[in-house]
Amino acid sequence: MEILLSVWEFFQNNILTKPAFFIGFIVFAGYALLGKKWYECLAGFIKGTVGYMILNVASGGLVGNFRPVLAGLKDRFELSAAVIDPYFGQAAAQASVENIGRSFSMMMMVLLIAFTMNILLVLFRKYTKIRTLFITGHVMVQQSSTALWLVLFCFPGLQDPQVVVMLGILLGTYWAVASNLTVEPVAKLTEGGGFATGHQQMFGIFLVSKIAKKIGDPKNSLENLKLPGFLSIFNENMVATGVLMTIFFGTIITILGPDLMHQIDKGFGAKQNFGFYILEKSLNFAVYLTILQLGVRTFVSELTNSFQGISEKLLPGSVPAVDCAATYGFGHPNAVTFGFLFGAFGQFLAIMGLIVFDSPILIISGFVPLFFDNATFAVFANRLGGIRAAAIIPFCSGIIQVLGGGFAAYHFTTGNFGGWHGNFDWDAVWPFIGVIMENLQYIGVAAVVLILLAIPQIIYRMNKDTYFVIAEDFDKYKEIMAKKQGVPVDQVVID
């Protein structure tokens, strides 16, 4: 017994609470279970572990690079600041978790339990009405991180096992329910493309599919529009982040001034030109983001591979919920740029609002929510409500992202480490879930899970005859709709 206990203790101290080895161990175990050869298991272990270590270097760098700017803002204006971006959010969540002395390994366990929860909900779809399995690995990592911090913030005394089980159930339910909401909009956009969206703005997509046609006319589509060519540079993450960060941090650091920066940042050399210091500081964010993405990509590709395998083996007929960018091919390329542009207008306006109204927190636009959420919204909006909807909706989304993100970063204190998740659902849905958990505690968690589970039931009851057909056989769905509308199949209106 004693030996067993000390073995467990060794495992707990060296693997379970060390996220890098824990991830490596999971990949190793997964591959071993899949019957892969020993050297493939070993390679998986190394990639998982090294991937996480790379991520660790990058999130440390990201937070560290931000620290002098945060200190300067605090010193001069009593302000805190946060970049609303899932990578910054993940780094800030990790820093918050570790700051109170808890192990970030829990993030990985939350992810696995939540994924299992999603599988169970699909397995029992006869009762749950859940059709989708969320398999976007990097997003699962980011959301597990932020949600882990939310739960630790709301339940500071809760022990690790309870934390991961409770959050696993909550997050898994969100993944299943929210991605399930995108089945109809995505199937209609892609004419039965065979997938749903499993990303960071799923409630947003559902909302857009409901309101876009009320805002504009699809006949006035943005396909005839000529957009300026320079916008194409934003196709590349590194460039886009570099530009955005230089604009924002350039402005902030210029206002703080060289004297203050010399005092608080040892990295600012005595002979260095202020302009080049700003440029270096700003571009450093692009450096750490690129490294962070490399780390995530390295260990997540191991995970996603097995998720995909599971979904095909275990759950035939279920719809994979994947990255939102998979929908872009079905919208006009202009829609993507247009959404990004109007989202940026909305965000910039809201940020100015924060400054004018003396908000205690300053929000800095991150590339991922700005681009991926708003581009996605524009693709869906353009199909149903044309150019008007594709402009107004991303614009409003930009405002919501800043206000919701600002509230969350301030209230849930990740602003202390300079970040918040920042994607639409995490600005518009999760802050509410956080506040409910904080005030109603366990009753709040139970209420949120029950409300979420009720959503697919309601939608099912509204379209009983087509609910499963639309996901499984789009041609048959069109036939049913044509019969309902009393027109031949080629004239059927799907909106």
């Binding site: 997003v139 196709n235 590349e236 993450n237 993405q293 990509r297 590709s301 994947v322 990255d323 960018a325």
Partner: protein
């Protein structure tokens, strides 16, 4: 020893790279679907996935680049065959386009 058995004496290993904006989600999906499709079509293929910037700088080391249709323009001037996809998850579309591109087996 086991390793060489696995790969066999392959004459032509197709080097493939899948690319998307951030190199995280979509390119991974393309990669997973491609693995199945190439196998079905009888190709030996090594498939990697990454972001567009990275893929652009390495494209000449690969035989084929797969990306979303809207990103095809990024790869102007590379020696590799560039294949743009509309539906990143459609095995039918991939099969059709691979066959049309007449890649060496």
């Amino acid at each position: 020893m086991a390793a060489s058995e696995d790969k066999g004496e392959c004459i032509n290993m197709l080097k493939v790279i899948a690319a998307c904006g951030s190199g995280m989600g979509s390119s991974q999906i393309i990669k997973m679907k491609l693995e199945k499709v190439f196998k079905k079509l009888g190709y030996q293929a090594e498939i990697y996935h990454t972001n567009v910037g990275d893929a652009k700088s390495q494209a000449n080391n690969y035989d084929v680049v797969f990306c979303s249709e809207s990103l095809v323009g990024t790869f102007n001037g590379t020696r590799a065959t560039v294949i743009g996809l509309k539906n990143l998850l459609s095995e039918a579309e991939m099969t059709e386009k691979i066959e049309a591109a007449n890649l060496p087996k």
